[in-house]
């Protein structure tokens, strides 16, 4: 019980630390100063498996990006699709010479395996990655390549912004969660000199760095987190660019979300087991950096401890002798712990909403409790499966592609051209516009 409190208390402190640091520290400007001046040859990799609902949107968005076509190569990786994805991709390839599809007909399934094969064909110095349901704005490619002006930067991560927040209560709550994850946590960690987390989409990796760390790990369920740690251990930095926003479709129902979360939990925890000894022994990482990386990898372990806490408090409630705790410092410690640790994650959400100006959605923060309870259960379930598989060697999940719900022609439309109005010309079914989210007033 005490250990669980200490562990969860440490995570709560981390949430406050990151939230407060994000509130106080401006994000570094120097990365943005290179936007438009660093134009290496870029390969955009878009893994696709049965993506006919969304393939057209992302390819159209990439065509409308303001990156020089002569320095651009787009490889839609059609990974054994059985729907109309191939036709859509081939149609674009006929019209635009820089789109060079790779049709994968056999081999191991999953995004990491597909990326590993496609990366061998890529000719760019920088590989940028987008999931098929994402819709990059016109300037995103330039923004994502700018940090590579720094030779120490091995990977870069942009900001994911849900566009379908009006779909359901879950999608609004997930938008708050994303908001906290990117605007608060990622930016704060980057500002503080920690490595940002490469998320495998809306991001990029330097081809030479990727080769230096042995390429994508096809065994991993979260090849992005795996790569982040591999890069960190080999001395590369991962930069975060808050301005490089890309629109995604968040799950609109819990069944889809649960499976997505399950994959993240299992992949993340696997990375924790694979990397924690190396992280602790890494000579050129400071103690703070090591602690941050281990905190990052171990974050899903908090869920079962929370459940242990609930069960313990229930047991204590039924035992009459436990009601009498007249020792003031002990009682103050317990109540203080409950008061502060429970608020910690919501503090990050609040800071992000404050900075983003998402006023109306901020009012929905108390409903995030539902999401919190739902996540806690799903994470415990996924961890159970992970450790079951680890001990008994079976029962785990394979790679699972998040189910798309977008209908043809319903999705976001990318505006023609960059500049102040560029992002505003996205037809997004949500509350966002170019600056702020249209909720102000």
């Amino acid at each position: 019980m005490v250990l669980s409190m200490l562990f969860l208390g440490a995570y709560a402190l981390r949430h406050y630390y990151l939230g407060y640091a994000r509130m106080r520290l401006e994000h570094p400007r120097e990365m943005n100063e290179f936007v438009g001046f660093v134009m290496p040859r870029v390969t955009v990799l878009v893994p696709m498996h049965n993506e006919e609902k969304v393939a057209r949107d992302i390819l159209q968005a990439l065509v409308k990006c303001d990156y020089d076509w002569e320095l651009l190569e787009v490889i839609p990786v059609n990974d054994r699709s059985t729907d109309g994805t191939r036709g859509i991709v081939d149609d674009f390839a006929r019209r635009y010479p820089f789109i060079k599809p790779y049709h994968r007909l056999e081999g191991a399934g999953g995004k990491p395996a597909a990326l590993a094969e496609a990366s061998d064909l890529a000719t760019g110095e920088i590989f940028l990655l987008f999931d098929a349901d994402y819709v990059p704005g016109p300037a995103v490619l330039k923004m994502l390549t700018a940090p590579f002006a720094d030779p120490e930067v091995g990977a870069v991560m942009g900001r994911v912004v849900p566009h379908n927040i009006g779909d359901s209560l879950l999608s609004v709550l997930l938008s708050l969660e994303r908001c906290a994850g990117y605007q608060s946590a990622q930016q704060a960690r980057f500002n503080l000199g920690f490595t940002a987390q490469f998320g495998g989409t809306v991001g990029g990796v330097r081809a030479s760095a990727l080769r230096a760390v042995g390429g994508w790990n096809p065994e991993s369920l979260t090849e992005d987190t795996d790569l982040t740690m591999a890069l960190l251990l080999n001395g590369w930095r991962t930069a975060y660019v808050n301005r490089a926003e890309c629109y995604e479709e968040v799950p609109r129902n819990w069944a889809v979300r649960r499976r997505q979360l399950s994959r993240w939990v299992m992949g993340h925890t696997e990375c924790l087991h694979n990397y924690w000894p190396d992280l602790l022994q890494a000579r050129f990482l400071s103690r703070r950096e090591k602690a941050d990386a281990i905190f990052l990898l171990g974050m899903y372990l908090t869920a079962p401890l929370i459940v242990v806490g609930w069960v313990a408090s229930l047991v204590l409630f039924i035992i009459p002798s436990a009601h009498v705790v007249p020792v003031l410092p002990v009682a103050m410690l317990v109540i203080g712990y409950l008061l502060f640790s429970n608020q910690a994650t919501f503090f990050e959400i609040g800071v992000a909403a404050l900075l983003d100006g998402t006023r109306t959605r901020a009012l929905l923060m108390p409903l995030s409790l539902l999401n919190f309870f739902a996540n806690t259960g799903a994470i415990c379930h996924a961890l159970g499966k992970f450790y079951w598989q680890r001990i008994w060697g079976s029962g785990g999940d394979g790679w699972y592609k998040t189910h798309r719900t977008r209908l043809g022609g319903e999705g976001p439309e990318v505006g023609a051209g960059p500049g102040p109005g560029g992002a505003a010309r996205h037809r997004v079914r949500g509350l966002y516009s170019a600056d702020g989210d249209g909720e102000r007033g």
Binding site: R24, D68, E245, P366
Partner: protein, 266 residues
């Protein structure tokens, strides 16, 4: 050449930097930080110093509500809270043993479980919370039915309640620093939100306390584990979150208003 960047022979403009959605940062000054933490320490001291009168006021308000709602109370008895912060007063509301609990209350528990199960089946997002509440009701039914030692009279309940709530009142100013005083662009608004949350917390505590006493009187301990969870820690979390979300809503409007007026300068 990409037509999106074709300039027709003119110099290429800096196309990629457009006004971003976010305010870059909110920086509490050193004096603001000192004022915030100083205020919290002061509030902590004041609440501790006036703990006994505050608990007496809490009991007086609860007594009024008990009278108003018709929940019988044989009086108030002084109870120990914490050394130096006592005495408090706890009510003597009669609480029936499990064998004396009415059939309606037992039926209510079963109905409650059914309603929660139906809700968890229909609202997937509610499933885990709902299941946990069902478990609490189940544990309560089993605990009441099997363990004779599972007893809690109103006096002890009042004592536990004061022990928890008094500490919440004392520690809330420190939470207020993080949730209200530092993120708010104007200190006076932060102080206002903090005071509002604190006052609401006190009054809401009276309401929840009386509601629990009523449930104790009419249904014994049948619903107590559920109420303990839902109206205890969870409730404190919820109302603080509610005030935090409203303060963010208000502060965000102010920050973005300032940002817009700055941007509109020629």
């Amino acid at each position: 050449m990409n037509p999106a960047i074709s300039t027709g022979g003119r110099a290429a403009p800096r196309t990629s930097i457009y006004p971003h959605r976010s305010v870059r940062s909110v920086r509490p000054t050193r004096s603001r930080r000192l004022a915030a933490w100083g205020t919290a320490c002061l509030a902590f001291g004041v609440i501790g110093y006036f703990a006994v009168p505050l608990m007496a006021l809490h009991s007086a308000l609860a007594d009024r509500l008990l009278t108003w709602t018709g929940i019988p109370n044989a009086g108030w008895e002084e109870v120990a809270v914490f050394p130096g912060l006592e005495p408090g007063k706890a009510p003597l509301v009669p609480v029936p043993a499990f064998a004396q609990v009415s059939g309606k209350a037992r039926l209510g528990l079963i109905l409650g479980m059914v309603v929660l199960l139906v809700m968890t089946g229909r609202i997937l997002l509610f499933r885990n919370l709902g299941n946990f509440l069902v478990v609490l009701l189940g544990v309560s039914a089993v605990g009441n039915g099997i363990f004779d030692t599972f007893r809690l009279d109103a006096r002890v309940f009042g004592q536990i309640w004061l022990r928890q709530e008094l500490l919440v009142w004392m520690l809330m100013p420190f939470a207020g620093v993080l949730l209200f005083l530092l993120p708010q662009p104007r200190l006076r608004m932060g102080l206002a939100w903090m005071a509002l949350a604190q006052t609401y917390g006190f009054l809401f505590s009276v309401l929840r306390f009386v509601f629990c006493l009523g449930m104790l009187h009419y249904t014994g301990l049948l619903f107590m584990p559920l109420l303990w969870f839902a109206l205890g820690t969870l409730s404190d979390l919820l109302y603080l979150l509610l005030f935090f979300s409203m303060s963010v809503h208000q502060a965000s409007g102010h920050l973005w208003g300032v940002r817009d007026s700055w941007r509109s300068q020629p």
